[in-house]
Symmetry: C2
């Protein structure tokens, strides 16, 4: 089993590896599965040998970046790692994970061209679009069958400047088209279509063309309308299979979660990369000590504050990932039932639950991920700022995950709306995935293991915040506010916090379920990670727990804080091995600070030495300027 | 008076300006002073006419950036805005502020070449370096008088790889040299010196060469040692004027604050820029409403949650700036007394106070600044991510302020060490700047205006955390821990929080003092800003206040939270005008979203249209790839 995973190089990290209480390779196999590891090894082997994937620490221009990204995207398709990405969903996830840790611009380009495009046709297209779908197997992406059904067409016209974008509205309802926009022979835009780019973007997203489009009486063939549930007749009449836009929306509610669930994984990847780079560097980096002099300097990872800043990030990397893969399993089942045409009340409930859960955990995961990269960067001091650390770049790369598929704060409203309505509706509070079952009991201060105590506090908190939100709604309604204002004015410290508390509770309870089922060899180290996650998150709610009356006096708060510090101390011997389990290979990580050999200084110096004794190209101008100024004074 | 300040263009922001309760131009004059505004107007006028300062939203390569930055730096010197930057400290501050908001790479280059270099010579050089100092008046920066005093020299040799950098150690003590490292005729490094660059960096810092240097038996002339307080004889013996390194350190303690106090201003500038861009955009941006359809969409600034995210940033921009300019005044007086040779116990106390205060407020201000830019960016949704928003770039630009001149978390220890020692020493708790005077009384729940109540809580908190830190020290000492470990193991929720609470309390009380002295016309709007700062910051300490027993039950916590939301609602009519007071001119701001005319969409579309109908340069390769694949299947 363990020969699936290569040994890591000996070096400065070796002593930190020798203190581990578990076998890191065995844990990796337990978490990822042999099949996934084998597949990823194959991909890594191919990519690491292909020169187009070689990188250094310099920064290409926008044009260069887009061309490199195009070539890498071509190479990924040519290597044909996946035969049919609908049939091999888990391998597709593996591939996306690799590309995402390598360069999100590349995973973005790959996913947009393949998954997003074909998924849209699969879910909202009909038999008239089947010819396109067939092309998915080899991801032949020329997007258009040379069809002759061009007779009927519908004029499209973008209404106003502020609606320039990639969503097109036809009368009121939002409809989606799968329409040629460029001439395939010369790639010029078709008549009546203007296409442009949105300009330079930060980080790796600069390697992806983000377009805008406007239409001026462009005629698109009518059959290109993705017409599941709605259609336009040849005479231009709009027909919907739904009695109301509300019904239409509720059917598509769950499937809207696909993107968000994918983005939850970005949060896990951001935390993985942050923890890997900063914890390895913190072992390699020695600073201060009892006496002056470099002999006495300690590895900065031995400082309790450094652990307190980094170990919750390591815990998040694990917890978000465990949570996300369970959610993805649920979601696949859900989609199969949907595509199979099931129309049960239980499926409708599941649809709402998937929507509610993805709408709060996408924000949570991406906030944690972006914050993790920022914290990791400052944990590496000045070196963390260099391009060769990769941390600032990664922060720019993951930053948009906070506004993709819904700005995080706005998205959170979906969850609280659902929870409050569910509670108000009365009846069975249990849900298909079981994430609201805890609402049956009230939650209280309980004794026992860490997670049990923290879950008790979360249960109380969610109840408290539902009640508080309801009360606030009543107050505002009594003041005659519109339902729109009622929702807007009950967010801060109320509905907003409710969605966060619920999402964290589900993440925590699913991670705990994984630990409960884990083999004895990993149970204790995984439990410690989950404890750290639990304590670190509930710590941020202490003030609300006190204000609301869940606890009083110092004991609960002191217990949370002291136990967190204790758990961080106890995790220390395992930290580097826990990083090794989740770290991508060095060529994917591409960080001088986070290399698996721990030789951060040697990698930094190698980069520094690449820039040795070069005079600045404008040295002559500088010399003339200074000398001239000097003389003019004389 | 008001004709000093140009009117702002009419447009979408006009209705938001019409609700202001004060005259924004008058407030600007009150805050900055006529002389400063006149000077800045001159500089703005010159820079805006000089083509080298024109910018768009694209991103230059490292080499291009450094050359542009060099040319801009030359232009700033050639325009000779300042005659003698030692004599015109306030104008120097004004100029740096302009350059910092324009491009920190430029302000960095300017300040490093001018202020930092000459200040070092002024403070730790002696009469033998006077010839260099004379050059400061016109900032002739050729760094070397063609001296003949080259006979004695001292070999320098960098000991180990991890010490490659710009600090050079000679035996034990850190000594500073002001030594030629390149041949002025050809800019090649001198024998025994290797100079290199640290590679690509994020944001505007890529426009500044960050060097490393190593020495191999290079002989530097002995007179180039900056020898105030220490010297090396011609026979190589090291002599110090101080009996211990501790004494040596304590003398230079206060002067070490210069850089940190400058960096506090970066926090204010980061908050200014964040508030300007995001609040103006939030007025221009309309989204959602009671009914579907764009007519009903509301400006996002009307959403309470959006205000709750942005108004504390606006408050920080004001409070940090008010605090920083008072601290700078104190610091100037302090430096004059130091340079004048005063050696009083009161000056020694002041030295410690300046050090303690700058060591906690530099972290606070820079954390607030970087967090503000991140929050502002997501407050602008997807548009906030574009290069044309400038927010992500600004975040990268301000990011290193968190590790400049001491990593923030490490720096905080300086403050807590000083406060705990001061309390333990007993005697007079009052201090030269008065920032510890509040320790005389214990602090308690008090009634009255917002800031009075919040200051009461802070007073209690600082007392509580000093006591908690002392108790923890005793526990750890009793366990036989070394004094190094005692400090390390008493940071989290203890000494670390103590430094934060003390720093915030000083910032708040100094801002309040400014409001107390403000003319009646601005008092109420300024008071609201200070209230928001007070409530937003103390909210983050609520859990510690509850755990420690300052309060119990819901009332204090509810009061903090509800009052904060109320104050944010009441501030809304003044928000845009408060932004106008602190916003730099549009060409300096360089953000499509933050323009003073509020035409965010027009500026975005103008940028988008610059990239219209361009086929990607590799379109042919793409077409061949897709077409070829297509055919191979047939």
């Amino acid at each position: 089993m363990s020969d699936l995973i290569a040994d890591l190089p000996k070096g400065p990290l070796t002593p930190f590896r020798e203190t581990a209480t578990f076998d890191w390779k065995a844990l990796k196999v337990h978490l990822e599965g042999e099949e996934s590891i084998k597949f990823k090894n194959e991909v890594y082997a191919v990519l690491s040998r292909d020169p187009i994937f070689a990188r250094d620490f310099s920064r290409p221009s926008t044009d260069e970046y887009r061309e490199i990204n195009h070539k890498r995207w071509k190479a990924v398709l040519e290597h044909q790692f996946i035969d049919d990405f609908f049939a091999e969903l888990e391998r597709t996830q593996d591939l996306l994970e690799i590309l995402e840790t390598y360069d999100q611009g590349l995973s973005g380009r790959y996913a947009l061209h393949a998954n997003v495009f074909f998924s849209a046709i699969l879910t909202i297209g009909t038999e008239r679009h089947a010819e396109i779908l067939e092309k998915r197997e080899t991801m032949r992406l020329e997007p258009w069958p040379h069809s002759t059904r061009e007779n009927s067409s519908s004029p499209l016209h973008t209404m106003e400047q502020s609606s320039v974008g990639l969503g097109i509205s036809l009368n009121q309802p939002l409809t989606r088209w799968c329409s040629l926009v460029r001439d395939p022979n010369n790639y010029r835009s078709l008549p009546g279509i203007t296409i442009g780019d949105m300009g330079t973007k930060p980080g790796v997203w600069d390697g992806v063309e983000n377009g805008w489009m406007s239409f001026s009486n462009h005629r698109a063939p009518l059959w290109t309308l993705l017409n599941k549930g709605c259609d336009v007749t040849e005479s231009g009449e709009y027909k919907s299979a739904y009695s109301s836009s509300r019904e239409r929306q509720s059917v598509s509610l769950g499937s809207l979660s696909a993107g968000r669930i994918g983005i939850v994984a970005k949060g896990a990847n951001a935390c993985r990369l942050a923890a890997t780079i900063a914890i390895r560097y913190s072992c390699a980096r020695h600073q201060f000590g009892e006496k002056p002099g470099s002999d006495n300097e300690r590895a900065v990872i031995t400082y309790p504050l450094q652990r307190h800043r980094l170990f919750p990030i390591l815990a998040q990397a694990y917890v978000i990932r465990l949570y996300q893969s369970k959610l993805m399993n649920h979601f696949r089942e859900y989609m199969m039932r949907m595509v199979g045409g099931e129309k049960s009340p239980e499926l409708a409930e599941l649809s709402k639950e998937v929507h509610g859960l993805s709408s709060c955990t996408k924000p949570l995961a991406t906030w944690m991920g972006v914050a993790a990269l920022g914290e990791a960067r400052t944990c590496c001091g000045g070196h963390g700022f260099l391009q060769s650390s990769r941390l600032n770049n990664l922060r720019d790369d993951f930053d948009p995950s906070q506004t993709f598929e819904g700005e995080n704060n706005v998205l959170l409203q979906q969850t609280s709306n659902w929870l409050v309505a569910k509670k108000a509706a009365g009846g069975d509070l249990k849900s298909p995935m079981g994430t609201t079952d805890f609402l049956v009991d009230g939650g209280a201060l309980v004794d026992g293991p860490v997670v049990r105590r923290v879950l008790g506090a979360y249960t109380w908190l969610v109840h408290h915040l539902i009640a508080k939100t309801e009360m606030r709604h009543k107050e505002l309604k009594a003041q005659g506010k519109s339902s729109f204002d009622v929702k807007n004015e009950s967010q801060i410290y109320t509905a907003h916090t409710l969605s966060i508390a619920y999402g964290e509770r589900v993440m925590l309870s699913w991670a705990q379920a994984f630990v409960d089922d884990a083999p004895i060899a990993f149970k204790s180290v995984l439990q410690r990670l989950v404890n750290i996650f639990a304590l670190d998150r509930i710590e941020k709610h202490l003030s609300t727990l006190y204000i609301g009356g869940f606890c009083s006096g110092g004991s609960f708060g002191e217990w949370v804080r002291n136990t967190l510090i204790d758990e961080e101390t106890l995790l220390a011997p395992d930290a580097i091995s826990l990083v090794d389990v989740i770290a991508p290979p060095d060529f994917v990580l591409n960080s001088a600070l986070g290399s698996s050999d721990g030789r951060a200084y040697e990698h930094l110096m190698a980069e520094f030495r690449r820039h040795t004794d070069k005079r600045t190209p404008f040295w002559g101008d500088l010399a003339t300027f200074l000398h001239h100024k000097q003389q003019s004074k004389l």
